[in-house]
């Protein structure tokens, strides 16, 4: 795959004078990045796996105790976990219209947009992406405030009942999904617009000459050619959607009301740092990693298949 551009340097070796160790050059260049990911990602993953078979309250003077599969057995039977898992699915599914479907519709609708306004739209629409999540949490908390927020003021001016966006157990999760999606919708739209603009005009022209309707052009030409980007955004939504919501859960609802907004990532955080049951948190983490890891492999396989189709 990669061609060796400096064949002569292939076996070059560097001697570290102080340590008396010999290291080949590429490993020396690789060392900083590799060291960081091994020490702060892979070793802790192994550590979490070990911890998932132990009981530990994380206090400095207490020793972890081996409990075998107890943590897993407990987790599976806890109603907390069932709720967290089903909510995690709701977060992911709820995010799809905002991160994929609406952006796709807007990108296809606005494909011929040009002129000076186009750049202005781009600049504005992208803005939420760079807003800090906690700032997004603060400003939506204000806009959606039950007593004084602008949205509820508008609702009651129009004669509707006020909505407890963060206090009503039937609504709170969708509020958090909305805030998560608000940050993404513009970015996804730009990504899909760029992919859409890259479709050769000649394809569309040829289809039009053959008398294809607009809908058929979208269905048979645009959607298949956009599928790699659609898949990328879908994969991001599936893999990271529930993680992105964590900030809003922690900052705005604490998993409530009535545990209606908790998800597996928030559950791990609660077990780990609120109730100090490190073993439970680690076991939930291992299960989550396995499930999302398998989902990721599935997504990557799908993407590879469609990437070939694209060329």
């Amino acid at each position: 795959m990669t061609e060796a551009a400096i064949p002569a340097a292939r076996r070059s070796v560097v001697r570290l004078p102080l340590l008396g160790v010999k290291l080949s050059e590429p490993w020396l260049y690789l060392a900083p990045a590799l060291l960081i990911v091994v020490v702060w990602t892979w070793a802790p993953l192994v550590g979490a796996f070990g911890l998932s078979f132990q009981q530990w309250n994380m206090l400095p003077h207490s020793e972890p105790r081996w409990v075998g599969l107890d943590n897993y057995a407990n987790l599976v039977t806890l109603p907390d976990m069932g709720r967290a898992v089903s909510n995690t699915l709701l977060y992911i599914l709820g995010l799809f219209p905002l991160s994929v479907i609406a952006p796709l519709a807007i990108a296809i609708l606005t494909q011929d947009l040009s002129g000076p306004l186009r750049n202005l739209y781009r600049t504005l629409v992208f803005l939420p992406m760079i807003v800090a999540p906690i700032v997004a949490a603060v400003l939506w908390r204000w806009l959606l405030n039950e007593d004084h927020g602008l949205v509820n003021a508008g609702l009651s001016a129009l004669g509707f009942a006020r909505i407890g966006f963060l206090s009503d157990p039937d609504v709170a999760l969708w509020t958090l999904v909305w805030i998560t999606g608000w940050k993404l919708i513009g970015f996804s739209t730009l990504l899909l617009s760029a992919a859409n603009a890259a479709i050769p005009a000649s394809y569309i022209e040829a289809a039009r000459m053959d008398g294809a309707s607009r809908w058929r052009i979208v269905r048979d030409i645009r959607l298949p050619l956009l599928s790699p980007t659609i898949l990328l955004l879908s994969m991001m939504t599936v893999l990271f959607g529930a993680q992105w919501s964590f900030v809003y859960i922690n900052a705005l609802t604490g998993g409530g009301p009535l545990r209606s907004t908790t998800n597996v990532f928030f559950l791990m955080w609660e077990y780990g740092f609120k109730t100090m049951s490190a073993g439970w948190s680690a076991a939930a983490g291992v299960l989550t990693f396995v499930v999302f890891g398998l989902a990721a492999l599935g997504c990557l396989r799908l993407m590879r298949k469609y990437a070939v189709h694209d060329s």
């Binding site: 990669t2 802790p44 994380m58 760079i130 949490a137 999302f292």
Partner: protein, 274 residues
């Protein structure tokens, strides 16, 4: 009935959709700034512009939070993280693109897949390690665990793959060592991708929430996201000062965006979502 592409009705629909999306994006931010400028008695007003703007809320927020200190901490953390990610990413990509060696594939997979490990899964071992190393409440603790990032390495690999091999070959013929080739030949020609990576990493680090949440105990060592969260927990319904604090937390990034919006958008689009 079909609306012809290019007809006035169609163009109105297109612009209407974009205007709606733009308003959706900026209105919440405008409301934050507008509220932050309203005097206390006017906070619940629904007027689009504050009738008698005041900086009173900013004074209150600055009294409650050591804002200059916090902003400086955040800037130092974000700048160091961005520099470290760009440097470690460039070095790793250099090794992976220009050499063939045993273990290269494994190393690349270890780096690339690290992005799949959710932070919540490894947070307890990381927290324990950071505590043992005395990293709580420290700048080093905020930066070092994030000093390398999968997306940085992948971006640099892409940049180096398209780098003209003849130039490197010519430099090697002249007897230059690999480090000299990197510093004198490659880096000067890689300014654009390095800058774009730097901007991306800076913004991501500035907005980082989870790791500082674990690591920071004292307000003096805090970063702006945690300061804001603290302020919201304490004075959650003091909307004026809260919006002033949120505005101050966002201003540096918004200013950066005002100057570099085209580059920022391009670098986010090129790297996918971070």
């Amino acid at each position: 009935m079909t609306v012809e592409r290019g007809s006035p009705a169609f163009r109105i629909a297109v612009h209407g959709a974009m205007i709606l999306l733009s308003l959706l994006a900026i209105f919440p931010l405008w409301w934050m700034i507008a509220t932050s400028l309203r005097p206390e008695g006017e906070v619940f007003s629904t007027a689009l512009f504050p009738a008698s703007p005041t900086l009173e809320n900013y004074r209150a927020a600055l009294e409650a939070l050591p804002m200059p200190r916090i902003l400086w901490n955040t800037f130092a953390m974000a700048a160091l993280t961005a520099a470290a990610q760009a440097a470690s990413g460039l070095l790793a990509a250099y090794a992976l693109v220009f050499w063939r060696f045993r273990g290269a594939r494994t190393a690349q997979v270890l780096i690339a897949l690290s992005w799949l490990v959710p932070f919540q899964v490894v947070m307890i071992p990381n927290y324990v390690l950071a505590t043992r190393l005395g990293m709580l409440d420290s700048l080093a603790g905020l930066v070092i665990p994030n000093a390398a990032a999968a997306f940085a390495v992948l971006l640099m690999i892409n940049a180096l793959r398209s780098f003209p091999k003849e130039i490197v070959e010519a430099a090697r013929m002249d007897g230059a060592g690999s480090l000299r080739i990197l510093v004198e030949v490659i880096v000067p020609n890689l300014r654009a991708p390095l800058a774009s990576l730097g901007v991306l990493a800076f913004i991501s680090a500035w907005n980082e929430y989870f790791w500082p949440l674990l690591l920071i105990r004292r307000m003096e060592a805090s970063v702006v996201q945690i300061g804001l969260q603290f302020f919201m927990t304490q004075e959650g319904n003091d909307w004026g000062p809260l919006m002033a604090a949120a505005t101050m937390a966002s201003l540096p990034i918004l200013a950066l965006y005002l100057v570099l919006h085209r580059q920022v958008i391009d670098s986010f689009m090129r790297s996918g979502i971070r």
